[in-house]
Assembly symmetry: C2
Homo-oligomer: 342 residues x 2
């Protein structure tokens, strides 16, 4: 470090400031120090740095799996938000495994100073566990509400209701919903249940009676399952003119199954998804979807975590719940644009 | 730590072994220690641990962007391979930015002991930089060959040749290629150039003359660009009965543009992609693609990095190049299965 300072013609303190990514170093000075670091092949001892500064500059993000586009795009947004604040992100995969979720919650992700935690299996009955966590934690998703930690979520039922209202304004009346939860337990709060609630509210408000045949349980929310549920729906002979898929992965499968059956989208059946993943822009027809506000979720969650990680923050705020703004992104699957080949 | 040991009824050494995820602890003992850790709210000082053990148990993965399915799925595979070896993964995004790639290469990812580095902008002219890196590094991808570090890559030209040969065996003779590099520089080694080479070799071996009109430059490899290139190809009036898209993201766009133009796939135009991303299973028609061996890439790269990180490894092996095994995954876009609605 001394050699770096000598070569760059700056103080050791300045080298330390550059190494620690503190903002108050002039860009030219920073460049000179970086150059000297590179010339000398100097590499700061990361662990010693962590000890000195009291934190490592690393946050954790635990998600079910990155192969699911929603979580890959969320991770992308979290990494970008974190990098803008000079933080690195360790990503852990929970893999839909309750024990693994429990272990990650209890121990945190190794080397991370705080955690953005998006569980899929832990539920409201595990809420007390959150209170026993002894590191900064921000909860993501819809599995647990009213816990003792900050929480960033989305407007599940309101957004779902808006999705169905969009189909209603197109004149659709026989609207199927694909992706409800197979076990139908009333004691759980799950995205599936909240979105189903929004669906039922929209129908009720429009004076349309609920038809249980149009509510299709599916788990997990993968394209092949969306396709199968749609094939079953078609085979059952029940009449429908629209499908609300509870996420976009399901919707990809719905489009696929409708295509196989030569049903035209949106002419015969309009389709709307939920999540607004990139892939929905390139299907034939392109997919109308609910954009849940991913960038806002990522930015807010990282900022909340940073606040909680600040060792100087003596005043402890009570836990906060932030719900991101959503919007409906209309594309061809419910729109007037080019149609699927017919 | 002493309290944890007392409560669990084990030695401090055993607690340390559990905390450090060493394998030689009996499962029951491990469970007891974990339970005591959780009871006492004990949290090991990660940085101190890093100092003691000489490494942090964290590796870095730097990729262009996670929104690109190939890299999300690669990251998924790397995290799984790393977790199986009790390592955590910090993910950095390079964002197609040459300066950022240079900075990450020079400094590594903060807190990571080693790096899997998949650049998109650095090229063969930057090869010497790799030799100046003073931390364990494994190179991924096709931008730089013959460098001084371990390298995991894929069989680009051979796999591309196999893809085109698959189209030839279907009787296709007018095969377009979408995604060649716009600048056509001969001094670069890029996936686009290597795959184009394989395309040309396959045609030459089949005695088919090359038609420059069928070679369509596209950058970057995003679906919208694949769609535009295909629209241009259709508008040009040149005859073609197959498309080789140089990656699957382009292929999604190709399918989309062919759909808009009411060209039947595969009847009128057969389509093959490259990467075998999950999304290709759910398009209509589903997408035939080259599987480049993602799991093998991830596993091999993590193992190579672990070897290079081992402070006890006195014998230094020369740099290794590993190319993963590929295979052609045949789906509807070149197959005999259900056709696109017609």
């Amino acid at each position: 470090m001394r050699e770096v300072a000598l070569l760059a013609g700056v103080s050791i303190k300045t080298v330390s400031n550059v190494v620690n990514d503190y903002p108050y170093v002039r860009p030219e000075t920073r460049a000179r120090v970086r150059h000297a670091i590179s010339e000398l092949g100097y590499r700061p001892n990361q662990s010693a740095r962590g000890l000195r500064s009291g934190r490592t500059g690393v946050i954790g993000l635990a998600v079910p799996e990155l192969r699911l586009n929603y979580f890959a795009e969320l991770a992308d947004a979290v990494i970008s938000a974190a990098e803008a604040r000079s933080l690195s992100v360790i990503i852990g995969q929970l893999g839909g495994d309750r024990d693994r979720e429990m272990a990650v919650l209890t121990e945190g992700l190794r080397q991370a100073d705080g955690l953005l935690f998006s569980p899929e299996r832990l539920g409201i009955e595990d809420r007390d566990l959150l209170g026993r966590v002894n590191y900064p934690l921000v909860l993501l998703g819809e599995r647990i509400f009213g816990g003792p930690t900050d929480h960033v979520s989305i407007h599940n039922s309101t957004a779902a209701r808006a999705a169905v209202e969009h189909l209603l304004t197109l004149g659709r009346r026989r609207i199927a919903v694909v992706g409800t939860h197979p076990d139908g337990r009333e004691d759980q709060i799950r995205p599936a249940d909240l979105r189903l609630e929004g669906y039922r509210e929209a129908l009720a408000a429009a004076g349309i009676a609920r038809d249980p045949q149009l509510e299709r349980p599916v788990a997990p929310w993968h394209p092949q399952n969306g396709a199968e549920a749609t094939r079953d729906l078609l085979a059952s002979g029940v009449d429908f003119d629209a499908v609300f898929a509870l996420n976009d992965m399901l919707a990809l499968g719905v489009l696929r199954a409708l295509g196989e059956a030569h049903r035209r989208v949106p002419d015969d059946v309009a389709v709307i998804g939920f999540d607004n993943v990139d892939a929905g822009r390139f299907t034939v027809p392109s997919l109308t979807s609910v954009d849940p506000g991913r960038e806002e979720i990522a930015r807010t969650a990282v900022d909340m975590l940073l606040e909680r990680m600040d060792p100087g923050a003596h005043v402890r705020r009570p836990p906060r719940l932030h719900k991101a703004r959503f919007r409906i992104v209309v594309r061809e699957s419910t729109g007037d644009g080019p149609r699927q080949p017919s």
